[in-house]
């Protein structure tokens, strides 16, 4: 029951938080492209980083803003951490874990070096307390629905009793949504704790000017010996893309988190670090009212789009073709063999428009006016659809209005980018199910069926089968049309060493350092 109750809010989270970072620290793997190390890392110094907007809360269970999940990995640590490519999990606060499919348990042995920034050791009681917060989370609680109970046989051992074997759980446990907090908030009141939280991440909160800046200082008790290299990280909120560029050029900012795609070419070429994001830009249609009730018109729209040109122009070349409706970077998501996503056939599109009930009226396409690549893409779609005989006008909306219109089904067409919040298909599937397939109000049955199957999957093959079943059903309805997979870009100054872009735009700053 908890799952269904929480899904509706989780979807909002996935939409507004355009992409989420992995909380796992320790970018020890290799990711390309990256700002690779050119010499031995030097200890000391601090870096200034820009955030496109302020963090909305320090509580990961209530956080919606993407920017919050950029900051969390610096302050919090989880039982596991992810490799920079987001495909494998590594030990973190837990030095090891073992699964017992027969007993349906997941047992963690905590790292003896794991301590919170106040010097107190991380114990099994802390994990049990934290799991209580995760499961009760209004936004992300459903990710932990397979955890039935938590046992703490000793201070360094935690046993998760599961309702079913859950292939996706370790990945979820490597995110900031599964950050470990001190038992009973370390003796503080809940409100006091979330004002200035104590975590086991590489840094601790030093100062915060709400909505403007956050100053983090090195956590002297960090579990990874010798890290972090930096003495501190200073985040400042710089909302305007032009300002971000100017501050980066002047040296006032060392790292721009989330460079606007359109502005990327203005940055020095070697400063941009990018990776395919965990998001997908989609064209969603209102299948319950208006001319888009007609599936033939929806299919015509899908076939009228020249996806290669759209990627080149609408996404300024900073995207790749979408091969699935679910974010294709997410482990377990693969191209469905029967799906025809990103296929163009103008002749058939014209035929379908002729056959449909569409009478040539203007269709309004809403898109966020605030940020993101959608605005340009939406404009690029207009002449493509016009060529097939579908008249469309673009109406940019502030993100809040956009979400309001989408959730009230007060729209005809919408371009949005939704992102996975964790490296598991559970998250995007949950988002799609809860939003009636990105607010298109199409049949949620395939989503729910896939969700159940993925939760119950014990092997990657079972996950793949469930996901492909969903993709085939989504492709048949054309209620939501994936347009492109936009890149996630960061700008990193030359003096920064050790930066590795992660597909979920999240990186931990523990291995960042300043060049000699």
């Amino acid at each position: 029951m908890r799952k269904s109750a929480t899904q509706a809010t989780a979807c909002g989270a996935a939409l507004t938080a355009a992409a989420l970072l992995l909380s796992g620290c320790g970018a020890s793997g290799s990711a390309s492209p990256e700002k690779s190390a050119t010499g031995p890392a030097k200890r000391g110094g601090s870096l200034a980083m820009s955030l496109g907007s302020a963090i909305d809360t320090w509580n990961p269970q209530k956080a919606l803003a993407t920017q919050s999940f950029r900051v969390f990995p610096q302050v919090y640590a989880s039982l596991l951490r992810s490799t920079p490519d987001g495909k494998k999990v590594l030990p973190a606060l837990a030095s090891s874990y073992k699964t017992d499919p027969a007993a349906k348990t997941l047992t963690f042995t905590l790292n003896p070096a794991a301590k919170f920034s106040d010097g107190k050791p991380v114990t099994s009681a802390d994990v049990k307390f934290s799991e209580g917060l995760w499961s009760k989370g209004e936004l992300y609680g459903s990710y932990f629905s397979s955890i039935k109970s938590v046992e703490t046989p000793d201070p360094k051992t935690v046993v998760f009793n599961l309702s079913q074997a859950d292939e996706t759980l370790p990945a979820v446990l490597s995110t900031a949504n599964a950050a470990v907090f001190p038992d009973n908030y370390g003796g503080k009141s809940e409100a006091a704790y979330w004002k200035k939280p104590v975590g086991a991440g590489p840094f601790m909160v030093n100062k915060e000017a709400v909505g403007q800046s956050i100053s983090l200082a090195r956590n002297p008790h960090y579990y990874r010996s010798g890290l972090p290299y930096l003495d501190g990280v200073d985040y400042k909120v710089v909302a305007d893309g032009g300002q971000q560029l100017l501050q980066f050029q002047s040296g006032a900012v060392d790292v721009v988190n989330g460079v606007e795609l359109e502005a990327a070419a203005q940055y020095p070429k070697d400063s941009i670090v990018g990776a395919p994001s965990s998001g997908v830009s989609v064209l969603t249609t209102n299948t319950k009212s208006g001319p888009l009730k007609d599936g033939r018109l929806r299919k015509a729209i899908a076939l009228a789009v020249d996806y290669k040109k759209l990627v080149a122009g609408g996404y300024v070349g900073e995207a790749s073709l979408a091969t699935s409706l679910l974010p294709q970077q997410v482990p377990g998501v693969t191209k469905c063999p029967t799906c025809t996503w990103s296929t163009t056939d103008l002749a058939e599109a014209k035929d379908l428009v002729e056959q449909s009930d569409y009478s040539g009226q203007n269709l309004e396409l809403i898109v966020s006016s605030d940020s993101g690549p959608g605005k340009l893409a939406a404009q690029a779609l207009v002449p493509m659809l016009a060529e097939a005989g579908v008249k469309v006008s673009v109406n940019p909306q502030p993100t809040s209005s956009l979400i309001d219109k989408l959730s009230k089904s007060d729209f005809q067409l919408g371009v949005i980018t939704y992102s996975a919040l964790a490296p598991t298909p559970i998250d995007p599937l949950g988002f799609l199910a809860a939003t009636g397939n990105v607010f298109s109000q199409s049949d949620p049955e395939p989503d729910n069926k896939a969700l159940v199957a993925v939760h119950a999957a014990s092997t990657p093959a079972e996950v793949k089968t469930a996901v492909q079943g969903f993709e085939a059903a989504a492709n048949a309805s054309y209620a939501v049309i994936p347009l492109a997979v936009p890149n996630a870009l960061d700008a990193v100054a030359d003096r920064v060493q050790g930066f590795v872009a992660a597909p979920y735009q999240a990186y931990c700053a523990d291995e960042l350092s300043i060049k000699n």
């Binding site: 359109e262 203005q266 122009g313 609408g314 203007n362 404009q379 006008s393 673009v394 109406n395 209005s401």
Partner: protein, 296 residues
């Protein structure tokens, strides 16, 4: 020639040098008219001096530099910048003109009523205008346009234009009303108006023949300045993403979209920026010149 005629010719005053017909302000008006006229001509003959349609995209030729094929290069969607710049004149001038003319007519009528009506009517109008003046202009516009939505156009107006004109009307009538009210109050106490009244002329004739024509001068001057201000306001609102639909060629929207590539394709901002400055200057010169004429 007879003696009489000779004497008359000798006594005739020397022929006067013809007085210059130029009046103060003529130069400004002329320069202003040339600038505005060029813009109007460009708008009228847009299809002849541009290539293609302003909405035509060439996604594989984005951000091309200025060339023979594209005088001002191409924008983020491969649209010809020169074509968009020229077609934008139609949109900006149309909305600015109507957004100034309608409130000018409405405000003038209200101003005349306030200036000639009873004291309670004058008070009511002036207090109402105080309220309108206190409205934060751009917030009001954003709210109004959001409320009305862009629509699909009205008569010869394109989508998004009518809400802007309504917004200008709601806000701008006040200036005209106050201007004309004070002029009317000044003129109505002039001796020639009193004489006309005492001479038994009907009230409507005194107003129509003596008061209004002698009060309207400053309003006409301000109208030209107001059109220029309206162009700037429309561009500002479009820059903020309010009003004219995003795909419509409009100077403010062009500056907005060029903002992100200012360092590599600065002309995408410079060209519409210069257009706004030029048309504003042209209209201001006309207004200024007319003002000089009235004062001289």
């Amino acid at each position: 020639m007879t003696d009489t005629a000779k004497i008359a010719a000798e006594e005739a005053p020397p022929a006067r040098k013809p007085r210059s017909r130029r009046r103060r302000g003529d130069g400004k008006v002329a320069v202003g008219m040339v600038i505005v006229g060029l813009f109007v001509l460009a708008a009228v003959f847009a299809p002849l001096i541009t290539s293609g349609h302003p909405a035509d995209q060439d996604l594989l030729n984005r951000l091309a530099p200025p060339s023979h094929a594209h005088l001002l290069g191409t924008d983020q969607l491969g649209r010809d910048e020169w074509t968009r710049l020229v077609y934008a004149i139609r949109v900006d001038l149309r909305v600015a003109l109507l957004g100034s003319l309608i409130p000018a007519i409405l405000g003038s009528l209200i101003g005349i009523a306030a200036g000639l009506g009873s004291s309670w009517l004058d008070t009511a109008i002036m207090r109402t205008s105080d309220i309108v003046v206190s409205l934060p202009l751009f917030i009001f516009f954003i709210a109004l346009v959001g409320l009305l939505g862009p629509g699909t156009g009205f008569l010869f107006l394109g989508p998004g234009e009518l809400p802007l004109i309504i917004g200008f009307t709601v806000i701008s009538w006040v200036v005209y009303a106050r201007l004309l009210r004070s002029e009317v109050r000044r003129v109505r106490s002039m001796d020639y108006v009193r004489a006309a009244r005492l001479g038994g002329l009907p009230r409507w004739r005194v107003i129509g023949w003596h008061i209004v024509p002698n009060s309207i001068g400053q309003t006409v001057v301000y109208l030209f300045v107001d059109v220029g201000l309206a162009v700037v306001a429309i561009s500002t609102l479009s820059f903020l993403g309010v009003g004219i639909p995003i795909e419509t060629p409009e100077w403010g929207a062009m500056i907005q979209s060029g903002r992100t590539v200012i360092q590599t394709n600065w002309w995408l901002i410079a060209a519409p920026g210069a257009a706004i400055a030029l048309i504003g200057m042209g209209l201001a010169l006309i207004g200024d010149g007319l003002d000089d004429r009235i004062k001289s």
